[in-house]
């Protein structure tokens, strides 16, 4: 049987209930478990990001409808999440729908929105399972671009799983990295408008915290399937020191061994990337110190004490300035988190209200 025929047979055999679930039930085979244990002897990525590319090409290959390709793609996601849990990879981020994808044909976009509706509704039905596994679902993107009913479903799902902390699934929906970075700068500007922070407080650390992914560490590993070798506006800021693995397999055909191959690649790159990351972190600390020093010196000058010569005075001013800056940034980030939480709770109230009506 050719691989195309095998895939088609599998498509028809998978039971509907298993196809709908967000995390596949089932354990690894013996060989898979042995391989997983061998891999786990080395450094394992704690956060993996996936660009799940190739659904439409897969559908063309099997001569089925595009929508089938997307459904299979979702199924593969559920399977991959199961493998990640088995490999103790606690955080996964996936690129489900880009803002650029709105440019596609209307029927395809509508089909994808309908799939999202089904999946997020299903998620709400599976709350017990999600609580059992401690799965926290976050949806990242400009959700205001989505139909209101999907926004409300998402809000429910996010709020229902907010306090789970065993593993994390971040779904990028109506997302592009440039929009995310622009939004982060806008949030910082909002902070300045509100008088919470000064423009000089804006730093790499602050922008990190203003991104949609502020609650997650940077991905250790980014995997893109279907053979394309670009990032397509996905996590551009967060993946600067991530291991990038481009695999030619189409997403619905992804296997446990493909995942192991990617993890091996991560392990080979681990030391070099750790070194580069540490160097960057050191440089960042020095940059911040230098910036604080300049600001503290400016302040001393402004208080009319002339050019400050006394190193003791300068040191005290620096420490005071740094403490104040950190305080400002902390209150700003608290306010930002409250603003974000309010977005979901307001949506949810609307959802409950409309459900009661």
């Amino acid at each position: 049987m050719s691989s195309t025929e095998q895939s088609k047979t599998k498509l028809n055999q998978t039971p509907t209930t298993q196809r709908m679930s967000w995390i596949h039930k089932g354990e690894l085979t013996l060989i898979e478990r042995l391989s997983a244990n061998i891999l786990k002897a080395g450094p394992m990525p704690k956060h993996v990001a996936f660009i799940m590319d190739g659904n439409r090409r897969y559908a063309r290959k099997l001569h089925v409808e595009r929508q089938q390709g997307h459904t299979q793609g979702f199924d593969k996601l559920a399977e991959t999440l199961r493998w990640c849990l088995n490999l103790e990879i606690r955080e996964v981020t996936v690129y489900a729908f880009s803002i650029e994808n709105f440019k596609r044909a209307k029927d395809e976009v509508d089909g994808l929105m309908e799939l999202a509706r089904q999946k997020f509704s299903r998620l709400l039905d599976e709350q017990e399972d999600l609580e059992k596994h401690g799965v926290c679902i976050r949806v990242l993107g400009d959700l205001t671009l989505l139909p209101l009913d999907i926004q409300k479903l998402i809000a429910q799902a996010v709020l229902a799983t907010k306090h789970h902390n065993k593993c994390f699934l971040n779904v990028c929906f109506a997302y592009t990295s440039r929009h995310e970075i622009t939004n982060a700068v806008k949030e910082a500007a909002w902070g300045v408008e509100q008088g919470l922070i000064k423009p000089s407080d804006v730093s790499e650390f602050l922008l990190d915290e203003c991104l949609y992914t502020n609650n997650s560490p940077d991905p250790d590993l980014l995997i893109r399937t279907s053979g394309e070798v670009r990032l397509s506006d996905f996590l551009l800021w967060q993946t600067t020191y991530s291991c990038l693995v481009f695999q030619s397999i189409l997403w619905p055909e992804y296997s446990f061994w493909n995942l192991c191959e990617a993890i091996l690649q991560y392990q080979l790159n681990h030391q070099a990337l750790q070194k580069a990351r540490d160097q960057h972190a050191e440089a960042r600390v020095l940059q911040q110190l230098e910036a604080d020093r300049c600001c503290a010196a400016d302040l001393l000058q402004q208080t009319g004490l002339g050019k400050p010569v006394d190193p003791q005075l300068r040191q005290e001013a620096l420490q005071k300035y740094t403490a104040e800056r950190e305080e400002r940034v902390h209150s700003f980030l608290t306010a930002l988190q409250e603003k974000r939480d309010r977005f979901f709770t307001d949506l949810n109230k609307g959802f409950i209200a409309s459900a009661k009506a």
Binding site: E100, F102, I181, V185, E187, W190, V202, E204, L207, T240
Partner: protein
């Protein structure tokens, strides 16, 4: 304590001890297999890298005197000075190579992710880019080494330009940009290519600087936070020189990462990797361009 209970407890303790012992043994076995696997993979990678460099060097040594005679190999004592005819032959060949491709990148980024750097090889790459018809070339490493040694790199590029392109090298003049704020290092009459030397400061730090500038405008009430959109931030990051986004990044070295290279600008950039830039040949450089010409960008559609 009753005897059966004691026996039961002892039995369960033996089973637990046995299970613990088995687990320890298995952990050692897994670690051993893992180390063996990684030793093999590292060996394979090292061999590939050596093979790449040695093979390139061997090819250069064999082909150079017989075919083109243009590579000034650092390990050769003889300096092979090409004749004017051969240089113009290369130039025409490279230009036609560029024209033969379905699409050519407007801007190529050369990402050197290796500890060892050879300025001659990088200069060759830059000159080939120019000869084939690329308008913008960036050179990047994640420690800012090229930034600090940009004059040395510039000298090497000018030298290789003369070596490889000969008398008509003035037509392929180069504008060097070290810093978006600096004036160009060399002002030329007919500018055919722009070479920019980049470091991590042009990446995230650049975005932070743009963010601070925007926040200052907001503080001065010249703008509102809601005024910012992707296009505005993009034009702030592009600056006055306005280099287009890199269409293609050629990454040299065995590290599988962009290592901080222009995160904002590489959203649609194709990334093609080579084991090393040392002794890189034109053939491999061109194969990357062919690969780029063949790729399909659907842009979300």
């Amino acid at each position: 304590m009753a005897a059966p209970l004691r026996i039961g407890m002892r039995r369960s303790m033996r089973i637990t001890q046995k299970a613990f012992f088995t687990e320890c043994i298995m952990a050692v076995v897994y670690e051993f297999v893992w180390r063996m696997l990684h030793a093999l993979l590292h060996l394979q990678r090292t061999l590939l890298s050596w093979n790449w460099r040695l093979w390139r060097r061997a090819m250069t040594a064999v082909l150079v005197p017989t075919v083109f005679g243009f590579q000034n190999h650092p390990h050769n004592n003889k300096k092979l000075i090409p004749t004017g005819g051969k240089k113009s032959c290369c130039r025409v060949l490279w230009k036609s190579d560029g024209k033969s491709l379905e699409k050519l990148p407007l801007h190529i980024g050369l990402l050197i992710a290796e500890e060892e750097t050879r300025y001659t090889d990088i200069a060759n790459l830059v000159v080939w880019c120019m000869a084939v018809g690329i308008s913008y070339v960036s050179v990047y490493d994640n420690q800012g080494i090229f930034r600090r040694n940009s004059s040395r790199l510039m000298d090497e590029i000018l030298k290789q330009q003369q070596e490889l392109l000969g008398l008509d090298s003035l037509k392929y003049s180069v504008e060097f940009l070290n810093n978006s704020n600096d004036k160009p290092e060399q002002q030329v009459l007919s500018c055919q290519a722009t070479v920019k030397v980049l470091s991590p400061d042009d990446g995230k730090t650049g975005i932070v600087t743009a963010a601070q500038k925007f926040c200052q405008l907001v503080e001065q009430q010249q703008k509102r936070s809601s005024d910012l959109d992707v296009n505005m931030l993009d034009s702030m990051l592009r600056g006055t020189k306005g280099m287009p986004d890199p269409d293609l990044v050629m990454k040299f070295g065995t590290v599988d990462s962009t290592l901080g290279f222009l995160p904002w600008h590489i959203r649609l950039t194709e990334i093609i990797s080579f084991p090393s830039h040392i002794n890189i040949t034109y053939k491999h450089f061109f194969s990357a361009l062919k690969c780029y010409a063949g790729c399909e960008q659907r842009l979300g559609k």
